[in-house]
């Protein structure tokens, strides 16, 4: 791990233990993500979710850590693997599952799909399915916040594989020269789809080793430790809000499953998968809470609450019909239509 002495690495090295309320919130957010995505997996198996879907099982601490640290009006930009980043902003679980299932109750009435979750009111500014594209867009939202002096920060999540595409480079340089309030979070889960990231990347840490190319501090943190993520997120958000510009944070984590629905993930050594499952962000966090004396009943209450929540969400989504066909060609334009002629 890089051992820089900047504010972010300091936060990573000495994460202040948040109060129990916050820690239970982190646990709750992770649980919510976990049960929702496990349910999504089951719904696939029943062919109730069509198309594709990219789960982040195992990566929940990243979404939760940032979700817990962000201000209500901050912006999230994420990817096709963005169910969790969207959910932690307070977005409806029913809306998300409904969208995956293509139902009327879906967040986007079935027009977006699993790769495009978005809830502008909650600051979930969209999930983008073209690698890297959302990075300059996130910078643009940060520019807007800077111009409007709103104090909002834009947080942009992406993967290790994304660090090799042109838009990554342009967005980082752009954000740096304009001191934009944007936090770029690279979730290094070791794979670009089926290819180990090291096979296609000229440096060891695909994001952190590039940070100096943009005048930024190299930062690599443990993405399976919600406390660490939370602490670093707070530091980066504060830095951005203070007008001190962007951050690039490399978060080491792992997806338990394959890249997408179609992928059993067999290209990964069994021991590697086993080792990371040992480091499951949720079970380890649960153990830590208990060790730190948090009441098990409070933990179980969170678990039961989220289990009930996902059951309810699934039920509502199942009972929701397909979207009305009339909406298929609406909302191309601001007038609600798709009319291209008079």
């Amino acid at each position: 791990m890089t051992t820089s002495k900047g504010p972010l690495m300091t936060a990573a090295a000495n994460p202040q233990t948040p109060d129990t309320g916050k820690r239970l919130e982190l646990y709750r957010l992770m649980q919510a993500c976990r049960v929702m995505e496990q349910r999504a997996y089951d719904l696939f198996m029943q062919n109730l979710i069509k198309g594709t879907s990219h789960l982040a099982l195992g990566q929940e601490a990243v979404a939760a850590g940032f979700g817990a640290a962000m201000r209500e009006d901050d912006y999230t930009f994420c990817t096709y693997r963005g169910h969790n980043h969207t959910l932690v902003r307070g977005v409806s679980m029913t809306g998300i599952l409904g969208e995956l299932m293509g139902r009327e109750c879906g967040l986007l009435s079935g027009k977006g799909g699993s790769m495009h979750l978005m809830d502008v009111e909650k600051g979930a500014m969209g999930s983008y399915a073209i690698i890297g594209a959302h990075m300059p867009i996130a910078a643009g939202a940060a520019w807007s916040a800077q111009y409007r002096k709103s104090g909002q920060v834009s947080v942009c999540f992406f993967g290790d594989g994304t660090t090799n595409i042109g838009a990554f480079h342009e967005a980082l340089n752009f954000a740096a020269i304009w001191d934009l309030p944007v936090v770029f979070v690279c979730e290094n889960n070791l794979y670009m789809e089926y290819t180990p990231i090291g096979d296609v990347t000229a440096v060891k840490n695909p994001a952190a080793d590039r940070a100096p190319a943009y005048g930024l501090e190299p930062v690599v943190i443990d993405g399976n430790d919600a406390d660490v993520v939370y602490a670093v997120a707070q530091a980066a958000l504060e830095k951005a809000r203070d007008g001190k510009g962007p951050s690039l944070i490399e978060v080491q984590t792992y997806r338990h499953g394959g890249h997408s629905r179609a992928d059993p993930g067999k290209y990964r050594p069994d021991e590697e998968v086993a080792a990371w499952k040992e480091r499951d962000p949720i079970t380890t966090y649960r153990a830590r809470l208990l060790a730190d004396g948090v009441d098990e009943a409070a933990i179980v209450a969170v678990e039961e609450e989220q289990a009930a929540r996902v059951d309810k969400a699934e039920e509502t989504a199942r009972n929701s019909g397909p979207p009305p066909l009339e909406i298929a060609d609406t909302d191309v334009w601001a007038d609600g239509s798709s009319r291209w002629r008079n």
Binding site: L108, K111, D119, A133, P136, A139, G140, S144, N342
Partner: protein, 325 residues
């Protein structure tokens, strides 16, 4: 009325809109301190300051990404892509992000932004700085596409584009930057989606865009004077929204249609207009529909070669005469 060049009308429109709306911001390469490589944006930095008029690196994806993100969050950005050929390096942001996100989000967010770009041939810049690419944009759902043929329309249509709640690709024909014409003084806004009848006529309808409009008008004049053919010339002005009402009214009257476009041959707006008429006004037609285009080639650089391949008044006349045979 004041006489403005096509170039001056660009900054006039931007200034007009920046004065009335603080949320209008402007970014691009060399647009601020240098006033634009085509000198289309002179004076804007001085009047509106470096927070609203910003020079960028050579990062077209970042420029348009920034515009997109800003548009989603309350601003009305104007972005310049210096030459329209460069849309190819940032096409994803245009077609996959800006054009689609409102639809995908079930109408949750808007992209009130304008992307201006210098388009087209005639400047002897060679194949990578001379394309007319308004067709690329027309083929993509979610983009409005505007291409003015004179200074008054530059001012009025650009103002309307900036006010429009949807993303507009605004193509400035670089061969026309120096041309001066009358422009209404004071606030001037021309609504999008209204073609102009640039010349009335009764025998044949010539539909043209941008730099092809003056050529069509020239051809029409010769057709009248030398061949006693009365050509109506329609300036399309905006490809999306497309004013089929005006075009159809003319074709219904004349029974004959010629489209004149600078684009290479295949899949241009001329094909779209032609096929619309072939579907909806078939029984009104008195003769085949003719498209005049640049051949399906990249543009050559040498002046003689470039002039030979772009549609000329002579080529338009020739096509109309063949049709009348």
């Amino acid at each position: 009325m004041e006489k403005l060049s096509y170039r001056e009308a660009v900054s006039a429109a931007i200034a007009q809109e920046m004065r009335r709306d603080d949320s209008v911001v402007f970014l691009g390469e060399d647009i601020a301190a240098a006033g634009g490589v085509f000198k289309t944006t002179e004076g804007l930095l001085d009047e509106f300051g470096p927070l609203r008029v910003r020079d960028t690196p050579i990062s077209e994806q970042a420029i348009l990404g920034a515009a997109a993100g800003a548009a989603m969050t309350g601003l009305r950005p104007i972005a310049e892509i210096m030459f329209s050929d460069f849309f190819a390096v940032c096409w994803d942001i245009v077609v996959n992000q800006i054009a689609k996100t409102r639809f995908m989000s079930d109408g949750q967010c808007s992209f009130p932004l304008v992307i201006r770009s210098a388009n087209g041939g005639g400047a002897r810049f060679g194949a990578q700085h001379s394309q007319s690419v308004e067709n690329w944009a027309m083929a993509v759902p979610g983009l409005k596409v505007v291409a003015p043929s004179n200074a008054a329309d530059v001012k009025g249509l650009l103002a309307a584009s900036i006010r429009d709640p949807d993303p507009v690709l605004f193509f400035e024909q670089k061969s026309m930057y120096g041309l001066k014409s009358d422009v209404p003084e004071g606030e001037h806004v021309v609504p999008l989606g209204q073609a102009a009848v640039a010349r009335e006529g009764s025998d044949v309808t010539i539909v043209a865009l941008a730099a092809m409009v003056p050529r069509a008008l020239k051809a029409a004049e010769t057709l009248q004077n030398e061949h006693n053919i009365s050509a109506e010339v329609i300036d399309v002005r905006s490809l999306v929204p497309l004013d089929t009402t005006t075009i159809f009214a003319s074709v219904t009257k004349t029974g004959r249609l010629v489209t004149v476009e600078e684009n290479p041959r295949l899949c241009g707006w001329g094909a779209e207009v032609s096929s619309l008429v072939a579907e909806e006004l078939f029984w009104d037609l008195d003769s085949p529909i003719v498209r005049v285009t640049t051949p399906h080639i990249p543009l050559p650089s040498a002046d003689t070669l470039e002039d030979a391949v772009m549609p000329s008044p002579a080529r338009i006349i020739e096509n109309v005469l063949q049709m009348a045979d």
